[in-house]
């Protein structure tokens, strides 16, 4: 049978970010897949090295608008790791609280988009309607709907006021009720089962071999979770379960995410309880960062996010390296997409909740006329710029 090629993107109606996929198909079966990234590359690591530590926290918030707490938490943990700084107990609970709220909003966002991808717009509208409540809670806590600006080196920037806690708990009750409804729907709905069961399977061995993280690996039965394996902030003092499933298909990824929302809400409840009891400061005064290197990990909604920072004793990082979870989850397409039909390809591509804004840490520009990559030119420009800076003009 002849092979055909289906291009998807970079501006495809269903992709909200610019990315490019090329599906090789035989009949209706996907036999191979290629992808091209780099449309979203903004050079965060380079910009971060120009900023001081406080500014770079605001910068990493803007790596991705959806994980805009995961990156700052990993970043401040990396900076605190250089000097082994401890943060106040109240700040620990607030960090975990904000992180879990973000997990709920990110999973609901994925749930809605997944519904949209399989042509089930009711799921999209409902999931995003309840997501608004989470954003309102964020607005009460931090003042912002999206980029929260809560994290500081040595603590958090804003306190949770005791008078807001009853309101937050009310909203959380509403989310719990609706999430139980959605969990029931996922269990009963014939359309979701027919479309998602047995589609895009990533087996247990494949998940380990590809080093998948987050819900992608947990749906395949690999129980990895940074919150439990490397307890930090308040996670060591809280009671929660790591949700896993066995089949590794798209349906299991959906179930894992829905159940994780309920777990997160359990964590938020415990944090709010503690916050109404625990008194004290929320921010330690950190005057300078000594020379050294530090790493920070955090379980983002999509998996483990990793930051590495090297300091030379000045007020800005000398090297800042970011590894986002989608970086390891995206290659699993090779295992999960081969052999499925074209109509299931898109939901399989979306099932790992890929975030290209997070992932695109480097790029290679090829021009059509010549083979020479433009990357070399970029590198030369950078050297030239640094030289000019040192010469002082």
């Amino acid at each position: 049978m002849t092979k055909n090629r289906i291009p998807l993107g970079p501006f495809h109606p269903l992709l909200e970010e610019a990315e490019y996929f090329e599906l090789q198909i035989e009949g209706e079966t996907v036999v191979d897949l290629d992808m091209e990234i780099g449309w979203m590359h903004r050079g965060h690591e380079y910009i971060s090295e120009q900023k001081n530590f406080t500014q770079s926290i605001y910068l990493v918030e803007r790596i991705c608008g959806i994980c805009s707490t995961s990156h700052p938490i990993a970043c401040v943990r990396a900076i605190e790791d250089i000097d082994n700084l401890e943060i106040p107990i109240r700040a620990k609970y607030i960090r975990s609280l904000v992180g879990e709220l973000e997990r709920i909003h990110s999973h609901l966002l994925w749930l809605g988009l997944a519904g949209h991808f399989i042509g089930y717009d009711t799921v999209w509208m409902w999931a995003w309607k309840y997501r608004e409540t989470v954003l309102e809670m964020m607005e009460i806590i931090s003042g912002n709907r999206n980029h929260y600006g809560m994290m500081r080196v040595g603590g958090v920037g804003k306190d949770v006021k005791p008078k807001d806690i009853p309101d937050l708990l009310d909203k959380l009750d509403m989310i719990d009720e609706k999430m139980e409804m959605i969990a029931k729907v996922a269990n009963d709905d014939p359309v979701l089962k027919a479309r998602l069961k047995g589609v895009g399977v990533l087996s247990h061995e494949q998940a380990i071999n590809y080093c998948a993280t987050g819900p992608t690996s947990r749906a395949s039965g690999v129980p990895g979770d940074v919150r439990r394996d490397d307890p930090h902030d308040a996670y060591g003092m809280l009671d929660f379960d790591v949700i896993t499933a066995e089949n590794g298909d798209v349906y299991d990824k959906l179930v894992v995410r829905v159940l994780e929302i309920l777990e997160s809400s359990k964590i938020i409840r415990q944090c709010l309880d503690k916050l109404s009891e625990v008194e004290g400061p929320i921010l330690n005064n950190v005057e300078e960062i000594s020379p050294g290197e530090g790493i920070g990990r955090y379980e983002a909604p999509r998996g483990e996010v990793f930051h590495y920072i090297r300091s030379d004793g000045s007020n800005r990082p000398v090297r800042h390296k970011v590894r986002a979870p989608s970086y390891v989850n995206i290659p699993t397409y090779e295992a999960s997409c081969k052999g499925i039909s074209v109509s299931d390809a898109l939901i399989t591509l979306a099932s790992v909740d890929p975030c290209y804004c997070c992932t695109e840490r480097s790029l290679k520009i090829r021009s059509d006329s010549e083979e020479k990559p433009d990357l070399l030119e970029l590198s030369k420009q950078k050297t030239e710029r640094i030289r000019r800076e040192y010469n002082g003009n």
Binding site: E17, W39, Y46, Q50, R62, G65
Partner: protein, 139 residues
């Protein structure tokens, strides 16, 4: 063309171009379609192809790889098309001003009709922008 604009203002069809943003403006744009803000009450609909669109929403900084694509999208659009630049990255490059991959300001790539600043702009701000655009078209 005022008679044409008046007819256009009844139902603007929108196409969204993400020119290397941080995703947040895009999520807020999608948020406008969902029940809380429900921008369809103004007749606004998100379409899948630039060939059907009356308004092109652009967000993010324009990087080297995406710049020719934006030009191409603009040339494919049926005219008149209104370009709305969303977010601080569009109006001032925001935190990405020092990026080595930023190539041009968006106004040098395509003619921009409206700016909505904010990081990200609140949905209310975007609705206000859209209402102003409809008001101008109705004049």
């Amino acid at each position: 063309m005022s008679w044409y604009n008046k007819r256009l203002a009844k139902s603007l069809w929108v196409f969204h171009v993400s020119a290397s943003p941080c995703n947040n403006c895009d999520i807020e744009i999608l948020d406008l379609l969902t029940p809380k803000y429900d921008i369809e009450r103004f007749g606004i609909k998100l379409v899948g192809s630039i060939r059907h669109a009356d308004v092109m929403l652009v967000s993010g900084i324009v990087n080297q790889k995406i710049e020719p694509r934006i030009k191409r999208l603009y040339s494919q659009a049926p005219k008149p098309i209104f370009v709305v630049a969303i977010g601080s990255c569009m109006s001032s490059q925001g935190v990405f001003r020092e990026s080595y991959n930023r190539c041009k300001e968006v106004k040098e790539v395509v003619p921009v009709d409206m700016w909505i600043p904010g990081c990200p702009p609140k949905p209310e701000a975007m609705i206000e922008g859209v209402a102003k655009l409809i008001g101008v078209l109705n004049e």
